[in-house]
């Protein structure tokens, strides 16, 4: 275990910016490099695990004007992103509200806690027929599946965040005459933010998984899940991995980019989370 005992005051490292790039490039480069070599030398089946360069080449073609349909992959990405962001956005709002209700109110706890914990173990597969019944064939079905998947992580983390806050922090706001909304805005939301961000990271991750499953199961054409599903019908491993790689990279970009930026601007600046 690495642990600095005497924490020297943190100074800006002269190489901070390059290192931030070097690390992911090295660690990911190592991963993909090994894969490339293993596939090229035949250590692993290059049909089941096409080398990354071949995957990228196939992706390049299918995302370009010569794809089938032209620019098809781009369309898939756009549609998937739309569904994902809509679902996650919904989960962020509704999930936080439900989490707040559970954490802050007796009735919320009594009503939502059992229902949420009963719904959580239900797999995506089981939702689609019900959603089909409710929404029909529509983007709404997919978006709802994504919403459901992302909600649980957010709800549970919001509840933990609230439970970890000291009650006196609400008291301060209350003694200043803060309304419920003000207490929420000035105290609770910033207070639970570290947990909310963890929930959001996980939520986005599971939202991707659910989205892929939903695009494979429910009525949809286009979208990365559909692309993977379609490729499976032809055992087109390059396209399957192309889709998966795209998901991975988009997931990474959202987690690092959007959520990471939020993290930097808030909890890291506040010094709430200890950097060791």
């Amino acid at each position: 275990m690495t642990m600095e005992t005497a924490t020297a005051p943190r100074r800006a490292r002269p190489f901070a910016v390059p290192m931030a790039l070097v690390r992911p490039v090295v660690s990911l480069g190592l991963l993909f490099g090994l894969w490339e070599i293993a596939a090229r030398t035949g250590t692993i089946s290059d049909f089941l695990f096409p080398p990354p360069t071949a995957i990228l080449a196939a992706l390049w073609v299918s995302a370009g004007p010569n794809g089938d349909p032209p620019y098809g992959t781009l369309l898939d990405i756009a549609l998937s992103l739309y569904r994902l962001l809509a679902g996650v956005g919904l989960a962020l709002v509704l999930g936080s509200l439900i989490g707040l209700a559970i954490g802050l109110t007796r009735w919320g706890r009594a009503i939502f806690k059992p229902i949420i914990s009963a719904l959580m173990p239900i797999p995506t597969l089981a939702w689609t027929p019900i959603l089909l019944l409710v929404f029909g064939i529509d983007n709404r079905t997919t978006i709802t599946v994504v919403f459901i998947a992302a909600s649980f992580e957010i709800i549970y983390n919001v509840v933990t965040g609230i439970e970890m806050m000291t009650r006196k922090t609400y008291w301060v706001a209350a003694s200043m005459g803060a309304s419920r909304i003000q207490t929420l805005r000035y105290v609770i939301i910033p207070g639970i933010l570290p947990y909310l961000i963890t929930g959001l990271k996980l939520g986005v991750g599971y939202a991707w998984r659910a989205l892929i499953a939903a695009e494979m199961l429910a009525a949809s054409s286009h979208g990365l899940g559909f692309m993977i599903y379609d490729a499976q019908e032809y055992m087109d491993m390059k396209s399957i991995y192309g889709g998966i790689l795209t998901i991975s990279v988009l997931g990474l970009v959202i987690e690092r980019g959007a959520v990471g930026a939020l993290e930097k601007r808030t909890i890291e600046k506040w010094g709430v989370n200890v950097e060791r």
């Binding site: 010569n66 494979m216 199961l217 009525a219 054409s221 499976q232 019908e233 032809y234 055992m235």
Partner: protein
């Protein structure tokens, strides 16, 4: 000592019948069947050498033949026949034929052999995809979609058609009978087959026995399959499976017409840039093994 063979099967009625009884016993062959829920996973396990026998439809087979020609032989068919594909509508639908559905919503599962056959059928009728609003769905949801009038009709395969009919809310409007054969081929691991041809022959023989049984007595086959499925706790009407068996062709023999059907699929994939060349499918077919197996069944049952 009995030989053993790892076989991949799917959750389809012919395979249920195959695993319901020990068909390998007369040949001293022990079958280790693993049931997969998707053909894709079965083929991955097949390529990984985890199962020696698997089956695959046209799309996957073309890719395999083009990119992994050294890995397999075609030793027979698992199921075939256009009659197992139907266009279904709600029971109260007034549509009398495919023309009445022009411009309406059709639920299909794109990419499947079923859809390919349907496209050929449309062509024969002088129609095309563009005449309908095509909605891609998962097979399990199609029935519900038709019932809920989310779509006006759906293209489904057996046993879904028969079960849905049995459930009472949908009816069969058109059968794709005679449009083509759209076979699912039985594939065997090439290295294994080269080293153990007799084992594969024995397997094929057991498979032929099972097929004969299904053809001779669809009612009993339906019952057997239903019982097999019920072991997992799932209940399905035997009568529906019986109907399915009358529509599915389980003949094991690979005909030239079947092999020829792969060519247009391959040409389309070549045009889409998915494969480089149209493979010579004939070179994969091991009719000799089938002949030997047929011989073996005759000598054993007699």
């Amino acid at each position: 000592a009995a030989e053993t063979l790892a076989v991949g099967v799917q959750q389809v009625p012919p395979d249920e019948v195959y695993i319901a009884r020990d068909w390998g016993e007369p040949y001293g062959l022990e079958i280790e069947a693993t049931q997969f829920s998707s053909g894709g996973d079965m083929l991955k396990a097949f390529l990984a050498g985890r199962v020696m026998v698997a089956n695959g439809g046209s799309g996957r087979l073309v890719t395999l033949a083009a990119q992994q020609p050294e890995t397999f032989y075609i030793i027979g068919t698992q199921q075939s026949g256009g009659d197992r594909y139907s266009l279904v509508v709600r029971k109260d639908s007034e549509a009398g034929g495919i023309e009445d559905l022009k411009g309406r919503k059709l639920g299909v599962v794109t990419g499947t052999g079923t859809y390919g056959t349907f496209l050929v059928y449309l062509q024969e009728q002088g129609l095309s995809e563009g005449d309908f609003q095509i909605v891609n769905m998962k097979i399990d949801d199609l029935r519900a979609a038709v019932e809920q009038q989310l779509v006006d009709a759906a293209v489904m395969w057996e046993p879904f058609v028969a079960i849905a009919e049995e459930m009472g809310n949908v009816k069969r409007l058109v059968s794709m009978k005679g449009v083509n054969e759209s076979p699912n081929f039985l594939l065997a691991n090439r290295t294994f087959t080269d080293e153990n041809p007799e084992t594969i022959v024995k397997f094929l023989a057991s498979s032929i026995d099972a097929a004969s049984f299904m053809e001779a007595d669809p009612a009993e086959a339906g019952q057997l399959a239903a019982d097999q499925i019920a072991r997992g706790g799932v209940s399905v009407p035997a009568s529906a499976l019986e109907t399915a068996f009358t529509r599915i062709s389980v003949k094991r023999e690979v005909t030239d017409a079947m092999v020829a059907e792969l060519v247009p699929v391959a040409e389309a994939m070549k045009a889409a840039g998915k494969i480089a060349e149209v493979p010579d499918f004939g070179s994969f077919v091991r009719r000799d093994l089938y002949e030997q197996a047929l011989e073996l069944t005759r000598s054993t049952t007699n």
